[in-house]
Point group: C4
Chain length 262, copies 4
């Protein structure tokens, strides 16, 4: 059975409300829908690929995490279709399968296959949101740097949009201590893809731990994961990194080194 068709004029939300649906445009369920439409227009999440998860850091329960369902057209997502899990035990406390059948049309939703990867960003980095795209610039960089386990770029202004991260000695947590500088080298680890998305979890976690300075992980022949302190920071980091990946492809094709000699 196929998913309910999510045309842009879908009327469902206005008729159905529960405690995880809100008319506030800043509510995580609404922001996921808004940002997925934006990402779709950027060719980052076409063909049901990619996704985004948001933690309700400013809501009454900041341990709630909103997650889009698996295999759904990202640009047609509706707020009522979200799964909600509660940290730290990641228990699902809402599923769209409980919504009235006139909404679900008896389709059985499953949480995004990215869920354990999103959770890794929440638990290992205290992220407020995590974005996953199939950006062609990201995939091309993993192919053009095909024998490398790191992507590197330096001396480009846009690098300054990315955070300088460091371990807080008193808490042991990785925190933003400022912004990267123009002359810094941005290093993003590249992990190998696996047949099943959830099997990426171990190597993603390993990369997150091995690279305390990174706010993103590239997945070879697949795409990228980017996270941030909140949804807007995650969005900005993802935009800045994608800009740099797109530029890096052009530089490589023109024979220009992406890391400038000192």
């Amino acid at each position: 059975m196929s998913a309910p068709c999510h045309c842009s004029k879908s009327e469902g939300t206005s008729q159905y409300v529960d405690e995880h649906i809100s008319s506030d445009p800043h509510h995580p369920a609404n922001l996921i829908c808004e940002l997925c439409r934006l990402f779709y227009d950027n060719n980052w999440v076409t063909g049901t690929g990619g996704g985004i998860s948001i933690r309700d850091t400013k809501g009454p329960n900041p341990n709630l995490v909103y997650i889009a369902p698996s295999g759904i057209q990202k640009e047609r997502l509706q707020p009522w279709e979200m799964f909600v899990a509660e940290l730290p035990d990641e228990k699902l406390i809402r599923t769209p399968n409980s919504c009235p059948p006139e909404l679900t049309k008896s389709y059985k939703y499953k949480p995004s296959a990215c869920t354990p990867l999103f959770m890794s960003c929440y638990t290992l980095r205290d992220a407020g949101a995590c974005i996953h795209t199939h950006s062609q610039a990201a995939v091309m960089c993993t192919l053009l740097w095909g024998d490398k386990v790191e992507f590197e770029i330096s001396h480009i202004e846009q690098i300054k949009a990315l955070p300088k991260l460091a371990v807080n000695e008193s808490t042991g947590k990785i925190e933003k201590v400022g912004s990267m500088q123009f002359y810094d080298t941005l290093v993003i680890p590249i992990i190998e893809n696996t047949p099943h998305e959830e099997d990426l979890t171990d190597s993603l976690q390993e990369a997150i731990k091995k690279y305390p300075g990174t706010t993103a992980v590239l997945v070879r022949r697949h795409g990228i994961y980017v996270w941030g302190e909140d949804v807007w920071k995650a969005k900005v980091y993802n935009e800045a990194i994608d800009y740099l990946l797109e530029l890096a492809v052009k530089m490589k094709q023109s024979g220009i080194a992406t890391v400038k000699e000192a």
Copy 2:
């Protein structure tokens, strides 16, 4: 005589109604218009090229097939301009030429030249919808693989959006039995173009029969046909394939093989 101009604010539909026009945005006639605008923005159906046909699989008569007229600007299509044919004998049961002259402006509509090709997908594969685009990525792949009769790509995450198809032994029909895997090789047959679109029918049918695992056929120097179990599946398959074709052009131009060595 030229076709009536279909400016985006055309007022016709609200004044004229018949049994094949509906205010439901999920109605095939409305979806054809909505998706053609989307495809136009993707540069897939400019210059009146390409098109889409939808079978009313969820309507009262699932044998009705909606088809856009020939030679019309796809992004300006109006729901009243559709032809409707009934399977299995493909008899036309509605023509826009029966609409009032204040709508047709005496223009004589003809069904899309793709009609026999769309019908082949309905009859040979039990498709719910069929999309035809002049995507430049598709045309470039048929040129870059100019001496090949198959396009192939493997080990790219987006391949997982495509269906794994197999013959159902009890019915003899080809059915979706799951999704392709990351390490699978996607094979899309390439047929040679013909001077008249309808003359493609034989070779398209031959390719459909010879490649039971495919949900698409490339046409050299022309474009691509993609079909699916319903309109949303067809849309998703088309998006995923176009993503892969676009990536394949970039890989080829960078000297990267699209099929990974084992």
Copy 3:
């Protein structure tokens, strides 16, 4: 003095009406605005470049020609800003400089520098509309075919969107007698640019006469002129040609001949 700023929410039109302004979205003055916004989004008329002129072929006086002013941001054009000339003597019968000063803000409008070129299409080819763009695909083709006076392409499906033109022996006029075929070679003459746009008139007219089969003329290092029997035909021809020029650049860069060996 600078032109009045044409923000997208400009309120002028609703308050000022004359016989060459209409609430009908199909009126030439409105279509020029609508299509210029579309062309702007295609990067065809940014930086005040390019333009479009429409003959009111379905209006009470089919000799009236609507022309946008010179040096105005094309995407912010308002219907009241049009010049209107009457064929065959090309006399200006309306200028936006007659509009109330609260609209013109004392800016002195001049007709587009393309005016004599548009007029050449009307008088030599009985065109219903003429489009001029600074399309980068057009400019690149004139550079990649830098030592040629013709651009040629064959055996691409999109060629079929273009008209087959022939001289009507009884009237001596060039008329559309059908559509080009897949295997036909589209030939578009390339003329050299001149310092002043109006000085292109002679060579454009010469090319129009020398190439009775063409519906477009490329201008080296500048852009393209495309015309058609009415505004929608001109739009479709321009889209189809631009698609072919874009594809031709890609083919050339991949070492693929644009004219297929027989």
Copy 4:
């Protein structure tokens, strides 16, 4: 603390008004928001990069300069978030930090790091607006012309959208005396980037003085600054220059010289 989230449906403005906020769409604070959304869609100001400043040349006090805050998502900017400075002493006379906390959410705004650069254009050139983008075409040109301190292009029609500037002998000021010609060579100086944006001020001012004919300065590995007599002129110059930079990258990659031999 992170900036307030600026979703596209933010309701703040309609509820809060002061003397530097207006319902007139032509007001500088509104135009900055409108144009930043446009620039975002062009990939010029993603990831909080770039910006625009407008001088209220037609307002009651033409010495007021509107400046967007630092580190904010450009496409989500709201009119109440602007800083206002008064020329010639550049004193800040408005800060968004004075807005009610339900708007600012206690976020501490800082003026754009580009402020001293924008001010240089106002004071040295009497500009009416100044645009700064991270355009990839601009960055690529500074890399492809990596050993040059000037970017040059000639004999492209779009050059005619740019101003011919000359010193007015009686006032000593640089003024527009006409438009560049097709055969003119557009020369844009390239300055080296610095770790801190404000440290660019000296070299930007030096370039502005050394190149009296330029209306733009490229910054290596960073982007471009473009100014004009008013906001619309600055917008048009920026569009025309970006078109030329984009074309120049394509020409360079095809081995075509950007300056034509005489």
